[in-house]
């Protein structure tokens, strides 16, 4: 069993391992960054510290949330990589059983950052791989 934070963007239901999540916040105001890729929504200030905001929907090949909408799931890895991933809704913690690679064919954007499907109490989630998620989020 693994503990995942269940969240969604449109019909896409995703799970992020809770151990990398430091906080869930209302979407903070942000400023755009010059020459940033489309998935980078901007740079916010969270209690005075800089926080890059990543449009998870765009990163996964979908749409950006309307300005000011959504919630920020703030995740951090041991090496200091930290970002707020913008999602439409946060549903809570789901304890799920790995369901394997899953029957649903995934496009490249999803396949790169997911570990597979997980059966939660409210249905199937795509489990995100935090390290892969940060790697594709890096703005180069």
């Amino acid at each position: 069993m693994s503990a995942l934070l269940a969240m969604s963007i449109d019909a896409l239901r995703l799970g992020l391992p809770v151990e990398v999540i430091s906080e869930i916040a209302d979407r903070p105001p942000s400023r755009p960054l010059p020459r940033a890729p489309a998935h980078l929504a901007g740079l916010a200030s969270l209690r005075g510290a800089p926080l890059p905001l990543v449009e998870l929907g765009v990163l996964l090949g979908g749409r950006a949330l309307p300005p000011g909408e959504g919630r920020a799931v703030i995740a951090e890895l041991e090496d200091g990589l930290r970002a707020g991933f913008l999602v439409e809704r946060v549903h809570g913690v789901a304890w799920g059983r790995p369901a394997g690679p899953g029957a649903t064919p995934l496009d490249d954007a999803l396949r790169r950052v997911t570990r597979g499907e997980v059966e939660g109490p409210d249905g199937v989630l795509l489990e995100l791989d935090p390290r892969a998620l940060f790697e594709v989020s890096r703005a180069r």
Partner: protein
């Protein structure tokens, strides 16, 4: 200095002089900061002469304000690649956001 929603800053240690912009559109001697950052044209351009490790750099900018600011914070790890590409070496807290602290030597490489 501000370009739309993007605010940038330079250390006054690097500032050698304020220059009069000559208004010649064919003059390509100065580095147009707005163009380098991919931002919109500057309404009323001004120019500053900036110290670099090599020859001084003429930089075309928008409105300039000189003021004391808090110490710069490091660039988040997720943004180091992007910030290197736009010559930003730190972040200056500004109200609800940050201004990009520009590195004069990095600006030379944007030419």
């Amino acid at each position: 200095m501000r370009f739309g929603e993007v605010e940038v800053a330079l250390s006054t240690d690097a500032l050698l002089a304020f220059l009069a912009h000559d208004g010649d559109p064919e003059d390509d001697g100065a580095l147009d900061l707005a163009a380098c950052l991919g931002e919109g044209a500057i309404g009323e351009p001004r120019e500053v002469l900036v110290r670099t490790a090599g020859a001084p750099l003429r930089l075309r900018v928008g409105a300039i304000r000189v003021e004391e600011v808090p110490a710069a914070q490091p660039v988040p790890a997720l943004l180091t690649g992007l910030c290197a590409r736009i010559a930003a070496k730190g972040l200056i807290p500004r109200g609800e956001g940050f201004a990009l602290l520009l590195d004069p030597d990095g600006l030379v490489r944007l030419r």
